[in-house]
């Protein structure tokens, strides 16, 4: 069930908030032992809150489209009185005294917290194979990863354990699990969603956003999270929309089945009235390298005081945090200079097009434990291959929507990424919703 459907049924009293929340809690009870999406489940407080919200509706208080909607927060988003681990032993007993502002906004809008979702340790990785809280498994194939770092949020939505989840995205951490789990998620423009009260990873790269089963559900959630209004036009008409299809980089070193699915999505957009334009993007290899240097340095600045305690870290995160200490200050400065120039060049593309279509990930979900994947005849590092088409967009700070655009022969989801200019989330929602309606 989508948020829009559930909300309509709640508001016509065909469904109570309590029954909706119970349904999600039952799914969690049934599936979490197998999929490990949640670190903490807040069943008792969720049921109590749902009953309160039912009473509110009966007495005439309507909080809007999220009234009674079950939500899961990624376990690095501070929740008052509910343990927030960041998927790390460093924070295994941390119980915040107050909510992150984005949690307050969602709570005020009537969302009901059903639990805290697992993630890659400290949000620093894309597989969600967490050495401390267990491996999170993909509901489409439990032998495969769900993506990360917001892996638990992606699984919770895909498996119907919640209707809405929060994610964070520093180098693809909303878009990658959305792609691998076959759901929709948006990394809104940098700064649009307040990241206060959320465990940071890369201070100039961190974004927060919603994850849900459909594009319109993401629009409903982002309205609350960002305090903006996104009105989706009725129907599926993309007349006048100019879609850019990159002629370079974004379709190179990408699995053929992914290339085919994304190009098919562009064809669908064209059939709905959009015009397709070939665009040449600036140097994304250089942008990715800049983003990696920036993230290495920023993440290590946050966590270096703990690095003397190796036993507290998984080996991959320990390695990355140590690498960050090796970044020269001059290289960090150069990375930020490169970032600025490429951002200016990239934004010029939006004079000619309204949005750009690209893959969300270069492949479908890798197998658990897989460190290298075969990519067009040669072996590629899973982390670098997976973040290749996502990471640079964080450095640009531009909004990007990930949504399903088909499945491969094995039934695994393939993700489309739609990128727009700063603060043009409305373009992403219009485009994505139209494609979904086909």
């Amino acid at each position: 069930m989508t948020i829009a459907e559930a909300s309509a049924r709640i508001h016509t009293r065909e469904l109570t908030c309590a029954a909706l929340v119970d349904g999600c809690l039952e799914k969690i009870e049934e599936l979490n032992p197998k999929l490990n999406a949640f670190i903490t489940v807040t069943a008792s407080s969720a049921r109590e809150r749902a009953r309160e919200l039912d009473r509110e509706l009966s007495s005439g208080r309507d909080r809007g489209p999220l009234h009674g909607i079950p939500i899961a927060h990624k376990d690095l988003v501070h929740t008052r009185g509910v343990r927030t681990t960041s998927g790390s032993l460093l924070f295994r007993n941390f119980v915040p005294e107050k909510n992150a502002p984005v949690v307050d906004r969602l709570e005020e809008a009537g969302a009901v917290l059903v639990g805290k979702t697992g993630l890659h340790e400290l949000a620093y990785g894309i597989t969600s194979e967490n050495p401390h809280f267990g491996i999170i498994r993909n509901p489409h194939d439990p032998e495969r990863v769900p993506g990360g770092s917001s892996g638990g949020s992606g699984v919770a939505i895909a498996a119907g354990m919640a209707l809405l989840a929060t994610g964070t995205d520093t180098g693809g951490s909303i878009r990658i699990p959305a792609s691998f789990c076959g759901i929709a998620g948006i990394k809104a423009t940098y700064g649009l969603v307040d990241t206060a009260g959320i465990q940071p990873l890369g201070l100039s790269l961190d974004h927060c956003g919603p994850m849900a089963s459909t594009v319109p559900d993401n629009a409903i959630a982002l309205e609350v999270m960002a305090g903006r209004s996104y009105t989706l036009p009725p129907g599926a008409d993309l007349s006048g929309l100019r879609v850019g299809l990159p002629a370079n980089f974004f379709f190179e070193e990408v699995a053929p089945e992914v290339v085919e699915a994304v190009r098919a999505a562009a064809k669908r957009a064209e059939a709905l009235g959009a015009s397709i334009h070939s665009v040449e993007t600036p140097d994304i290899e250089a942008l990715n390298a800049a983003a990696r240097i920036i993230l290495l340095a920023e993440a290590s600045a946050l966590h270096r005081s703990h690095l003397t305690r190796r036993e507290l870290f998984g080996s991959d995160v320990f390695a990355l945090l140590n690498q960050g200490l090796m970044v020269a200050g001059a290289d960090y400065v150069d990375a930020q200079r490169v970032r600025r120039c490429i951002t200016a060049e990239f934004r010029k593309l939006f004079r000619a097009v309204d949005c750009i279509f690209a893959p969300s990930t270069a492949t479908v979900a890798p197998r658990i434990g897989e460190r290298e994947i075969l990519m067009n005849g040669r072996m590629a590092d899973v982390r670098l291959a997976t973040t290749r088409v996502a990471r640079g967009i964080n450095a640009l700070g531009l909004p990007a929507l990930a949504m399903p655009c088909g499945k491969n022969a094995a039934g695994l989801p393939i993700g489309l990424q739609i990128i727009a200019d700063a603060y043009r989330e409305d373009v992403l929602f219009r485009t994505g919703a139209a494609l979904e309606s086909r």
């Binding site: 140590n322 970032r339 951002t343 700070g397 700063a422």
Partner: protein, 58 residues
């Protein structure tokens, strides 16, 4: 053993790890340096937009 009791010198990276990591960082940094060489004179560092920014936001 409590984590506070872990001897610091035994929990650091090995020389082999350090060398491997340094190579990885150096490879990425070299790409950045090369890109930086072709920046226009006076190129500045990134300035991020924020939602409460008077120019770009609400």
């Amino acid at each position: 053993m409590a984590t506070d009791d872990i001897p610091l010198e035994k929990s650091g990276p090995s020389e082999e790890e350090t060398a491997r990591w340094r190579d990885l960082v150096e490879g990425t940094a070299a790409t950045v340096r090369k890109a930086a060489q072709s920046l226009p004179p006076g190129a500045q560092m990134a300035v991020l937009f924020h939602a409460d920014d008077e120019v770009t936001g609400k």
